[in-house]
Symmetry: C2
């Protein structure tokens, strides 16, 4: 399916039954002519409903209802209510998932629980297995808990090395389902089963998969999961995150961030901590109400797809978009030294396309990935640069995320055409594109 | 200073040089006739600036600027920038305080640091001293860290017992500067000095003091502090909290919630955690941008008092308001069995007045505190009920917070008059006021 013309891409959009879902968003390309946003996997776009909903929370619920809104406006129920909505997107049941804190903080909670359970069940297992290219915050939290628990972190360089790393020392397999640098999608069912067969627990970070593709936490045998609210869930910058624990494990351990709203009876003001039953004990402090309201609007944009085929239909569109991106780059940017870093096989790819420059290409020798991403941003194509690590053999990455709720086939076509122009013209060599600032 | 008439209270308002600060708020009593909000110590009122500012962040910075706003709109700088503003309210220097996470999560970070430092400096010290009536989340987090560190929690029943509790076993003195149940204000300088003299570190929760009265963290010798954004700082429901560590201690320990935004170079995507220098390492995950923007508007309402005498002037007004409340209750509600739970001496009282019913009074025998608070809410006076704990000898509390930015002297007069009516009429005995729901 390689359209050789822009008209072909437009025809795909015309035939796209999911196209109406795009109208849920306040699109920047309505205002900024020609903007193509391929960074929804870093910060999702703004739903149309969000501004009015947050304004209502601020002016009515907070401004007028004041303290009474904790009950009358349902603020206290937010962590569980929004959690139940997210649960439907990731293959979890009602009452199994809560929204709280950040991904990093939630990872601290669930990894603490996993290590504590293993200390009881299999005390000689003292290794956490993960990928060296896992998102750094996951590795940092694991390093902290390794110090606390006297454990070690074993990092593999390629997914193929994971099964062999699951030996008699392994306590926890901790993976991000879709790798942030490569877009590679792990097989959650197979790796969770491999972890269990080896006596380990399986912990999944859904940062780049929740809302991007079907996730089946219960069916695929995951034990713990965390995920991010501000990427594919469109919850807004720094949106609250979520935590899930397999029901059979959730009551086995009191996670260490034992704040008052994870107490069985917070308003008894009991001086002694008694954890709430189930996943509610994974709530810690007072819910961030404004941010929760924004997140709920974002989650609702995904629930709106239910009548159109839900996550399965979104996944099919996402794969068609990334397939189109890959094939169009191959056809239109040939000879520019670009390598596909993401898996070519659809089943192994998340909702992003990652490219790098071959080291022996002109751009590769010039260390061009950063400058090309900047030149593309100047041309209205917003992707991401992800720095490599020469010591680990990791290349600099050009990353393009597609979000099936909003990305059109013609966006992919146009983005690749602009990439082609930037490369063929050598425009990326302009000095202004080489100046590095903080990139998120 | 006991005005015997409402006119006296109105005269105090007319003479109040801080009165214009009230106009910064979108006041519910503009819309709800007769509402008197005495619960700003649980949830601060809505600043007028907040709705427009948050709308701008949503529609412009997020909706249009998208991912680029992390730099162009200063999102990445929020934790430090707002932290520097709060620092001016609590006697901390620039670069010493960050906004992040919740109070509970921040307490976990700083108490972890305190215990780790003591484990190195004085390994035989394994006791945290606190009050049994400290806010439960503080006790719960301490209980969790006691389990982890093999320490114990020693709880005193009255402030007078604290000095004797600071013995050779004590590692940390952990107090909330103003007790949430009684409004008693600890002497931070004297107790920090006593802790140090005993070889302990001094950790302060500023939940009921930051923004309510002058706090002098550096001058008073505090070692660690956390505080809440949604009470006197008017940051909105569930607003982010803050953390401060004395500069001489901040680089001694890597706090365990080592998320990527506390890394020295987050965008290097280094697989190994290297903490940022200084307080920046107390940031964990991605900042909650919308909530941060709302908090900044709240903090600005306090900074606006700088030209009118700042926290010292706000403190003087706060004390005049609580003094008026206490004296008017004594004069107008005599014989109803009410006892003053808060300290009568101004210097020992925070910005709230806590009352209870004497056990031998009619209301005390009827267990009336909850019903009276509900009947007052029905009459437009919003205070708080805080459940007692008979096992610990703690009475049920009627709590009335004053917020010097917004509370008027006439509000105090009118509130006490309605309290008098509710008691004298016996209206609180109506069955509808006895039905308990969740109260925050």
């Amino acid at each position: 399916m390689t359209p050789m013309t822009r008209e072909h891409a437009l025809a795909l959009d015309a035939a796209d039954t999911l196209a109406p879902l795009r109208r849920q968003f306040d699109l920047p390309d309505d205002a900024v002519d020609g903007l193509i946003y391929l960074d929804g996997n870093s910060l999702g776009m703004l739903p149309r409903a969000t501004a009015a909903r947050v304004a209502q929370v601020i002016t009515q619920e907070w401004g007028r209802g004041l303290i009474g809104s904790w009950n009358s406006a349902g603020w206290m129920a937010q962590p569980a209510r929004i959690g139940d909505k997210i649960a439907t997107l990731v293959g979890a049941g009602p009452g199994e998932l809560v929204v709280a804190d950040s991904t990093s903080v939630n990872l601290f909670k669930v990894l603490s629980a996993a290590l504590a359970i293993q200390r009881e069940d299999a005390p000689t297992r003292r290794v956490i297995v993960s990928e060296r290219s896992n998102f750094p915050t996951d590795l940092y939290i694991a390093q902290s808990l390794c110090r606390q628990h006297g454990c070690g972190l074993r990092l593999v360089d390629t997914p193929a090395e994971i099964p062999a790393a699951l030996d008699a020392d392994c306590a926890v397999l901790m993976l991000t389902q879709v790798n942030y640098r490569t877009g590679a999608l792990h097989d959650m069912a197979a790796l969770s089963a491999a972890a269990h067969a080896a006596g380990a627990l399986a912990l999944w970070d859904l940062a780049h998969s929740a809302g991007a593709l079907p996730v089946a936490l219960n069916a695929d045998g995951a034990d713990f999961a965390v995920g991010c609210g501000y990427k594919y869930l469109n919850g807004g910058p720094g949106a609250p995150a979520f935590a899930w624990v397999r029901p059979g494990l959730v009551d086995r351990f009191v996670q260490p961030l034992s704040g008052w709203l994870g107490h069985a009876a917070p308003f008894a003001f009991d001086p002694d901590y008694r954890p709430a039953p189930g996943i509610a004990r994974y709530v810690c402090g007072t819910p961030p109400v404004l941010a929760m309201a924004a997140l709920e609007c974002g989650v609702d944009t995904l629930l709106a797809a239910a009548k159109l085929g839900g996550m399965a239909a979104l996944r099919a569109k996402s794969l068609a978009l990334t397939r189109l991106f890959i094939d169009t780059v191959a056809a239109r940017c040939a000879g520019q030294g670009l390598l596909l870093v993401s898996p070519d096989a659809d089943a192994q790819r998340g909702s992003q396309v990652c490219l790098a420059f071959a080291g022996d290409s002109a751009a590769g020798r010039a260390n061009a990935a950063y400058a090309v991403v900047q030149a593309l941003i100047a041309r209205g194509v917003v992707g991401d640069f992800r720095a490599g690590d020469p010591a680990s053999g990791l290349a600099d990455i050009l990353r393009f995320g597609v979000t099936p709720l909003t990305t059109r086939f013609v966006d992919v076509w146009d983005a690749v055409e602009r990439l082609r122009d930037v490369l063929a013209s050598g425009q990326w060599r302009e000095p202004r594109f080489a100046q590095r600032g903080a990139v998120t």
